[in-house]
Amino acid sequence: MAALVPRSDFTLLSCNPALVYLDSAATAQKPRAVLDAMSDFYESEYANPHRGAYALSARATERYARARAAVARFFGARDEACVIFTRGTTDSINAVAAAWGRANLRPGDEVIVTGAEHHANFVPWQQIAIERGATFTICPLAEDGRADVEALASLASPKTRVIAFNHVSNVLGAINPVAEIVSIARSVGALTVCDGAQGAPHMSVGFDALGADLYAASAHKMLGPMGTGVLIGRREVLESMPPYQTGGDMIAFVGDEHTTWNTLPHKLEAGTPNVAGAVGLAAACDYLTSIGMDAVAAHERALVRLAYERVSAIEGVRVHGPGASERSGVLSFTLGDIHPHDLATLLDERHICIRAGHHCAQPLMRRLGVAATARASFYVYNDENDVELLASALESAKRIFALA
């Protein structure tokens, strides 16, 4: 199984032929198309958008708008104005928790998250619940790490104002049943916030059909630049949400005593925007679209199936999460009593990059009953050989630690 895209599209990978990069769930490598689009903006169309009464500024504004249109298309959101550029998933979710939460949560209300959330979709809700005197409830997980929808259905009540959940678990690769969660939330009138950081890079999102009220994602996990992300929402939700930050660009009129807000998307984008970031994300979206998200998903599924087979065949390995056919391109595991950090360091000596630790998901680690796991994750530039090198490096680690 070859890589889905030429390794030569990625300068870092082609300059380091021995590198086996299996940490795309942390951040993805960048294709030249993304870097070129960003430097082209800086070199040929750079000015502050939405400002100047001169042609260059108008071109920068136009470039920013085109980026938004491309991103909206990629995420399947017809209403472009409902695609808000942020600093990333963490920023997007904090914006909702702070702005929406402060305006809507009352003492006695309830916020539900699942036990498999990344800290970015856990801590903001926990904290806003504390601040507003709301109840913070953690929905239990099914055996495979997905939200236990039956438990969720019995937890949800008219007091439930928000249900926040991941599209795909960053630790387990388990894909949540979004439609079922949304339907439970709707039956009690709760807002749904979907953390798509591990969803958007790997599968077609189809925001309008997905049903979630709000969807957050990070550019850097989907071949785009760091420091850029999106918050996509249904118009009525974003319209009713007060601004998260105030300042330039987001205002209509600033009086001495009162200020009125600009329209969407500007109301939720205070300050000079990160246009180069948006341009880079748009280029990443175009790159992924040219491959086809179905092909991306199928490639990862094939790699993760092979990895599951090879890695779980090693005696002493425990793979966490769902079976091979029900997961996105993420494999979390432990090997005997070798600490995952030792495993990652040993693999690094063979130029294999994996992540080890709690993966910013300590509540999930407690539920799995482990302190840490090792995690290999796959993307468009990985191939079968990467999986074989991973498996043989794990065998070698076992011998070094004399477990064999």
Partner: protein, 153 residues
Amino acid sequence: MTERSALYQEVILDHNRRPRNFSVLPNATVEERGINPLCGDELTLYLRMDGDRIADASFQGTGCAISRASASMMTTLVKGKTRAEADAMIEQFRGLATGQTAVDDLPSSLHAFEGVARLPQRVKCAVLAWHTLHAALGIGASGSDPRERGARQ
């Protein structure tokens, strides 16, 4: 295919497999807990002080091979040392693990940890036991490297 690791030399693997002084110390006069929040390494260090001298030392805890082997070797090496001798050793080990100072005086077995200096994220694992010893001896927080700060909580 090579089965050797630059970092995980035999002495580290051996102390990880069979940690020395890995027990609760009866009659301990000092007990100090150290945590590396990044990795989740945690250990409890037990000392029996005889005046100014460390009469005995042991540890318990969970963590990676680096932190465990480091604690194992440290408890072996500091037995019988005075507070000042132990403090000097702590400083030297810090220098070795961070690659900042020459460390000719340290016992050769500790040179196995030189490799962590190239791995900033693993330095904390190697120095955890030593930081804990530093706290246990009640030596003032002098000369702490900002990179290591927070390794002990």
